[in-house]
Symmetry: C2
DNA sequence: CGTTCCAATCTTGTATGGAAGTCTGATCCG
DNA sequence: CGGATCAGACTTCCATACAAGATTGGAACG
């Protein structure tokens, strides 16, 4: 992490940490803290945070601090709906599908299963989200890939926030079903499967955490709900 | 323009200028020039430019300057394809369509026609792009609205760059047809019309400008092509 | 006359210092 | 003891200064 390769490597490290679930919604990202960590000046970290803010991944609260976004339940639903619409549209608009796309996806699924089998939670979180990025990247449209990457980061945050109970194995199975449909050239079916897959993940969300900012603390203290 | 209401008002002014066609692809946006114009320090304009860069609207060339993006022909096609996929997906995913959406769109079309009739080129450019933003905004998903706003800005730049010959009146007619399909509740048809509408605009692009960076100068000097 | 080189100038890149708002916790008062 | 007040220790916010690369125009040279 010490290597300041590119000017936006800070962005990447933060986003990767989010995708891996090492950073969760609401986490504070202080300009000075990051600067110390990356051995750069506050200017650099501030610029990185500004970029991430423009990408909808962090928020600044005036003179209070920078925080990873903590979407409301409604915003969470909007994010999932956005992904449903976009990913469906992408699949329906596919003109030509090279075999290398399917190969890449199958290889990805192998890695997913490996991460699940070895209980590597970070790799699991990252790979399950990355499948969708991988798919759209393989289709060759960078514009869409960029959009989906950020949207996926948001979705990972949301899943952790509203503790999606959607099983990782189930997700992986659904990824496989989508890939199989693509391999068979049945784009319509792939699109339908994609919609239901994202819908399944969304359906696993629970509203709980949104209503009560004390939930985290309450859980940590093992208090039963609503008993102050 | 003197009013520094919000910290990101600079962003908005620039994007609005792009949507209205007052700023075109490749325009230089100097940090100091903007700072003087907005009566702020270079820090502020730099932050605004960084935000716009994250949104894919401007680019920085190291120690040379900031420029409005000048997409290659391939990138232009990607942007249009992205819009086709996303907007189709949005329409296909609509659950419920309130009558106020149609009303809003009809009002928008009236303004489009007025701008066309009065030869107000800036309003025309802005409104023709804004129709799509308006539509997705009316559907109530802010995530998608934000994405489409930026994508629309890119598309407006592209249309000017590759001098789209698609007629404004035709675009407006197509907007109306889409709105009518929505009013009739025929979402599938609306989606199809949207795809062909965006396809029509894309089809009007000409590759010419991309090949020769001197085209602008050549045209300005009224030289015939390839006669140095 | 054509070419090379260099210096002046313009641009962004980066660090730093102080202004100003926000929160915390101690102190003071009733 | 309970509640208001205020000092301080944070934080971001914003401006400024200087560093350093890029460009340009002209001078020097063949």
């Amino acid at each position: 992490m010490q290597a300041p390769d590119t000017p936006d490597s800070i962005d990447r490290v933060i986003v990767d940490a989010i995708l891996a679930g090492r950073i969760t919604a609401g986490t504070r990202l202080g300009e000075q803290s990051l600067a110390t960590l990356f051995s750069v000046s506050r200017t650099m970290t501030r610029e990185a945070l500004i970029r991430l803010e423009a990408r909808g991944i962090v928020q600044v609260s005036s003179r209070r601090g920078w925080f990873v976004i903590k979407p409301s339940f409604e915003e969470a639903q909007e994010a999932f709906q956005a992904r449903q619409a976009i990913e469906m549209g992408i699949l329906m608009a596919v003109q030509r599908l090279g075999p290398e796309v399917v190969d890449k996806l199958r290889a990805h699924i192998v890695r997913e299963r490996a991460a699940i089998a070895s209980d590597d939670l970070e790799a699991r979180s990252f790979l399950l989200g990355d499948f969708h990025v991988c798919l759209v990247e393989a289709l060759g449209n960078r514009v869409l890939a960029d959009i989906l990457r950020d949207l996926t980061a948001r979705t990972v945050l949301i899943s952790a926030l509203y503790q999606s109970v959607h099983d990782a194995t189930a997700s992986c199975d659904e990824h496989e079903a989508i890939t199989n449909a693509l391999a068979g050239g049945d784009l319509k079916r792939a699109a339908d499967l994609m919609v239901s897959h994202i819908g399944n993940v969304e359906a696993g969300l629970t509203r709980a955490k949104d209503d009560d900012p004390l939930t985290n603390l309450r859980q940590a203290l093992k208090l039963s709900p609503r008993r102050e």
